[in-house]
Symmetry: C2
Subunit: 165 residues, 2 copies
């Protein structure tokens, strides 16, 4: 039995997207917990996907969020674990595959995720490794990708009632 | 046996992040396949997390990418499936939890994902439902979140050799 006190922190984000332009989405993002803050973002698609290229595509925001999250946690825990960091670069590569039989709608699946952490530190290599292991487990996006998540969907049409899908 | 021809499309994104400021990350994002394009993004954290608030936090980009991806696919397949859309709004709410025993580093896990699709369409409701079901399966980010993904990590320190973690 763990006699240490368990603390639970909740983190909640919400996003409202509106369709404007051919493929552009205006995205109002709110951090709801632990603090209330709001952010304005947008996505679009390039011409080959029917858009006007006025903003990055959704997958650009997705991979940028992943890399940014690893970088935040690595720096946050470096302070707490007393690991010195002179410089930090993180690179990621994500491969997806879309499969289409004949003219059926395609279905997609991720194929591979690679995250490279490039640190310049004079701390012992064992401490640097431990830092990255801790940052992985603390990274909200890595934790999310590492498990199978159920996404609940609701639909409404023309301002009627919401129905579960 | 499926006699239809199977086509496979690859989609690959890469991102290089550099640490600048206390928590700011400059993020060069590249679409590598199907086309080559590049995008400049950044993340930061608010003061409570040790940052300067110069850019949205990583989780804001993450949820914006999710909503943008559902919105792209809904519009892309509306055309192909001949479902008319007068207006489209998509909202999402994602809840995470970080657990910490005593002074141990915290570990995080997602708690719930909700995606609400608000359509204004005069097409039959059955066709609208089918459209959203197809868009879910075609959405790269939803497909990624719905399965458990292995993320490979490498680390190097001071420009030495890469080691697998």
């Amino acid at each position: 039995m763990n006699k240490e006190e368990l603390k639970i922190y909740e983190v909640v984000f919400e996003c409202d997207g509106s369709a404007t332009g051919k493929m552009r989405s205006e995205l109002d993002v709110r951090m709801v917990k632990p603090l209330k803050e709001s952010f304005v973002l947008a996505t679009d698609e390039g011409k080959f996907h029917g858009g006007d290229g006025t903003a990055p595509p959704p997958l650009a925001l997705f991979i940028a969020g992943l890399v940014g999250c690893v970088m935040t946690q690595t720096r946050a825990f470096a302070r707490r674990m007393n690991v010195q960091i002179k410089d930090l670069k993180v690179s990621a590569r994500v491969e997806w595959e879309a499969r289409q039989y004949g003219i059926e709608p395609y279905e997609t699946a991720p194929k591979s995720f690679q995250v490279d952490v490039d640190i310049d530190s004079e701390s012992a290599i064992g401490d640097v490794k431990k830092l990255v292991e801790v940052a992985k487990k603390a990274c909200f996006i890595e934790a999310t990708l590492s498990q199978s998540n159920e996404i609940r969907h609701r639909l409404r049409n023309g301002g009627g009632d919401w129905v579960d899908l």
